[in-house]
Amino acid sequence: MATLTIGVFPGLVGNMAYDFALKLAAAAVDKGHKVSIWFSGNATGSVKANQKHLKDYSTGEKHLKALLEKGVEMCTCEACTVARGIQKPEGIEGIQWNAMHWYLAKIHGADRVLHIGGE
């Protein structure tokens, strides 16, 4: 068992890189690794609760909740999130809110890091 930290910066809906990050996280957990995900930039929109899951529409909430249940630790950049008009009570339960130092600490402690830049 090893640790993987993924930094996810691209937007949520329709973004292939965002979709890739979540699928990779799921695959890594299924192989017994410990995964943490940091959301920054436009990816922080994905921590807003009550997303309607449309069939052919890439969406975060359903997949994020599944990853939470699998033990993936997730944190959103508080500054980026409130900058986009999303307040903490509106967030998906179980996703942490913190500043960049959370991500840096995870990077420092991880065996592997994948940083997926934004748009």
């Binding site: 292939m16 699928k23 990779l24 192989k31 592997r112 940083h115 997926i116």
Partner: protein, 98 residues
């Protein structure tokens, strides 16, 4: 350093890769980057495929684009998400995302 580079777009040219110095370079084609493994322009394959012998393409992203594995350049190994996890942990200590 063993570096695994995720190429997620078809428009990415090789000059970025030319600047990366790695003891072992792996190129992992995902999202629209999978077209590097299948498309020929003016009869030539993508110059990315000449950068390293360690070439991989994500099967799920081939399938979503209707690309058959038989259309993939023989130099490129078809992998799934589980294989990508193994590549990250076992083959490449650093990763980059292009």
């Amino acid at each position: 350093m063993k570096l695994g580079v995720f190429v997620s777009d078809y428009t990415i040219t090789v000059d970025t890769l030319d600047r990366l110095k790695a003891e072992k370079l792996g190129i992992i084609l995902v999202a629209n980057g999978v077209y590097h493994a299948t498309i020929k322009e003016n009869g030539k394959t993508s110059p990315l495929l000449d950068k390293t012998p360690n070439l991989y393409v994500l099967s799920e992203d081939l399938q979503t684009r209707g690309i058959a594995e038989s259309d993939v350049d023989k130099r490129v190994k078809v992998v799934n998400y589980g294989d990508v996890v193994d590549l990250i942990f076992n083959e490449y200590e650093k990763t980059a995302w292009l």
